[in-house]
């Protein structure tokens, strides 16, 4: 998976490039909007990391230009300016995520994976999460390419957790995802279904219960 880093600070760009390379991404760097435009025109990228404070045309202007040109490339904004207004503006302009400097390398890598996962889902209808492959359109779960049998409710739980991988999914939300219009389901029943799902998924992913809130599905680190 290839990522374009648009960042003018050499130290930051270098750290990101090296860090993401270690996490298994291919990374190219651009130090301003013109270089970035040239790189995007020449090659295919799965994700762009975009600093706001760039020399010349700033990151948000570049983002607007990309979206106006109809590019669906996932974009994560990296910035040291964490005002709410900036964040809202960036998301309005079509940014897919927003990360404030300084950040942990592991956090950056996890967010990059999540964004690429979501964009792949849009194009292929499939989600890959560690050893899991979830075929959303075909309603089929694979672990290491082996199909896994799931009941309807277990599938709905896996689907809901996988679509929100890396984020906490509240119990109420799972309850809504699982309940059909004629059959209500109790929170306890949700727990039972989740524990069955957990048994079937095994060690292939991390399914974590967050006390009082819900569950979070993650790739193993």
């Amino acid at each position: 998976m290839r990522i374009l880093v648009v960042e003018d600070d050499f130290l930051v760009a270098d750290a990101i490039r090296r860090g993401l390379c270690m996490s298994g991404f291919a990374v190219d760097c651009a130090s301003d909007a013109e270089q970035a435009a040239a790189a995007l025109a020449a090659e295919h990228f799965d994700l762009a990391l975009l600093d706001i404070a760039l020399p010349g045309s700033d990151g948000l202007t570049f983002l607007r230009r990309l979206r106006n040109a109809g590019t669906h490339l996932p974009v994560m904004i990296l910035t040291a300016r964490e005002t709410l207004a900036t964040k809202v503006q960036a998301l309005d302009l079509g940014a897919d995520d927003f990360l404030v400097k300084p950040f942990e390398q592991s956090e950056l890598a996890a967010r990059c994976r999540a964004l690429i996962r979501r964009s792949n889902l849009k194009s292929s209808g499939q989600l890959t999460l560690g050893k899991l492959r979830i075929d959303i359109t075909g309603r089929q779960l694979y672990i290491d390419a082996e199909p896994v049998e799931l009941t309807n409710r277990e599938w709905l739980i896996v689907e809901c957790l996988a679509l929100n991988a890396g984020r906490i999914v509240t119990k109420e939300r799972l309850q809504q995802a699982v309940a059909s219009w004629d059959q209500a389901i109790t929170p306890n029943a949700v727990e039972v279904h989740v524990s069955r799902v957990r048994a079937k998924l095994g060690e292939s992913v991390v399914l974590r219960a967050v006390r009082g809130l819900g569950y979070r599905l993650d790739e193993p680190r």
């Binding site: 130290l11 930051v12 400097k101 300084p102 906490i168």
Partner: protein, 452 residues
């Protein structure tokens, strides 16, 4: 300010004080003058009647007619010769003292009765006509009864008009007062000068100028914070990132411990910079009204738990939440800073195997936020001091800069929330609770309904 000085500076009171007593006095004097003049006129009219009778008697005598012997009912008379011999009427009726005019008036008392006399002196006779004062309708009482009532009503109406006039005259001022009272302390937009009376206009102009200066200063401050954030964070991000990458490189293995302490140092620098910026952000002068609005505590709690789940797992802590929906009037960014700091403290100071719980909901109608851990806790003697900037409990774990709870306290003050530090369940750990002011009843009720 004492109640006395407050009343002295109330324009309404002053106006009423300067208008009502003098007006009342003036009205009373008017009533008195009316009474006096009315008495004089009534007396003159009755005296005229006596004079007419006396004159008609005199005419009869001068025309040589028989001496009159009958008078109208209630009238006493006596006709005597200038020498004093009684010709007709009641003997012993005294005559009014003589004067320059032939007709004089006087008062006398005859066998216990107060009499009013009119004496007409002609060459032939002295004619005295008298009337009992008591038989005259009392002019005073009569006039008083009618005029007093009218004057009293008139006085009331005038007082009412003055009161209404003062009320309406001061209305623009009261409207201004309401306009100012309705603003929050953070609101710095200029006051509307359209409805302001000309007399108060310079005051409002001065206030608006002050607001403008203050808002400008606040904006400059928040711009400074943003610029500083950028200037500090970018190199820190570069340093931290490079160190993290370096530590993962096999070639750096022999330097691992030195890299780790370097990384820890840069992390502390990063943390301190972030905390100073958070403190600046929480400062009253930079947090203007923007960013304040109805904020959902539950989603703020979910955000903070989500952000810290991994760290809690790494620290071997059980992080959880117990929350029901609750809304506060708050700045979401500051609320995140507040929760972040409480969470940071809980995760930092609770030993592995511990339990950290974040709670939110309503407590007797007031929204609350709470973070509880079962770590070492804060000794009661230290509790008042931990809110001070840069204060660290002696012997506490390194890595903090002593600003966390100061930031929490500052943000709590911004939201008029009551901050309390207590021991956790079973007297272990610490429970920090923030009780916010009750939101509008309707909002709280609807949120409660959702909760139940």
């Amino acid at each position: 300010m004492t109640a006395g000085s407050a009343s002295a500076t109330s324009i309404r009171r002053r106006l009423l004080l300067f208008l009502l007593p003098p007006l009342t006095l003036l009205m009373l004097v008017g009533v008195l003058i009316n009474y006096r003049t009315a008495t004089i006129f009534v007396r003159a009219a009755y005296d005229q009647k006596l004079a007419d009778i006396a004159r008609s008697f005199a005419t009869q005598i001068q025309q040589g007619k028989p001496t009159p012997s009958v008078a109208p009912p209630g009238i006493l008379f006596s006709i005597s010769t200038p020498g004093g011999q009684t010709l007709a009427g009641r003997p012993g009726l005294p005559a009014a003292a003589s004067g320059s005019a032939p007709l004089t008036y006087g008062d006398a008392n005859l066998s216990g009765q107060d009499l009013r006399l009119a004496t007409y002196r002609i060459p032939e006779a002295v004619i005295t006509v008298a009337e009992n004062d008591a038989s005259r309708p009392n002019p005073g009482r009569f006039i008083l009864a009618s005029n007093w009532l009218i004057d009293f009503i008139q006085l009331d109406i005038i007082l009412l008009i003055v009161w209404i006039g003062v009320h309406f005259g001061l209305k623009p001022l009261l409207a201004l007062r309401r306009q100012i009272e309705a603003r929050s302390a953070r609101e710095l937009s200029p006051l509307d000068t359209a409805p302001v009376p000309a007399e108060v206009r310079p005051l409002i102009d001065a206030l608006n100028l002050l607001f403008e200066l203050h808002a400008g200063a606040a904006q400059a401050q928040s711009r400074f914070v943003a610029d500083t954030a950028h200037q500090l964070r970018t190199p820190i991000a570069g340093l931290l990132g490079s160190l993290q990458v370096l530590m993962r490189e096999p070639a750096a293995a022999p330097l691992q411990s030195r890299l780790a302490s370097l990384y820890e140092g840069v992390s502390t620098l990063s943390h301190s910079a972030n905390q100073l910026l958070a403190l600046a952000r929480a400062d009253r002068s930079t947090t203007l009204n923007d960013g304040f609005g109805k904020t959902d505590l539950k989603s703020a709690v979910e955000r903070i738990v989500e952000r810290n789940v991994d760290r809690a797992v790494e620290c071997g802590l059980d992080l959880g939440a117990e929350c029901s929906p609750a809304n506060v009037e708050a700045n979401a960014r500051l609320l995140d800073d507040l929760l972040g700091n409480l969470m940071d403290n809980a995760l930092k100071y609770t030993p592995s195997g511990g339990r950290v719980t974040v709670r939110c909901g309503y407590d007797a109608g007031r929204p609350f936020l709470e973070v509880e851990d079962d770590g070492p806790g804060i000794p009661e003697s230290e509790r008042p001091r931990v809110l001070e900037r840069f204060y660290r409990i002696p012997g506490s774990a390194p890595g903090g800069c002593g600003l966390g709870l100061a930031i929490v306290d500052e943000i709590a003050k911004q939201h008029d929330a009551r901050l309390s530090i207590e021991s956790g369940a079973a007297h272990r750990g610490v429970r920090i609770n923030l009780l916010f002011p009750a939101v509008r009843a309707s909002a709280a009720e609807s949120a409660n309904r959702v909760a139940s």
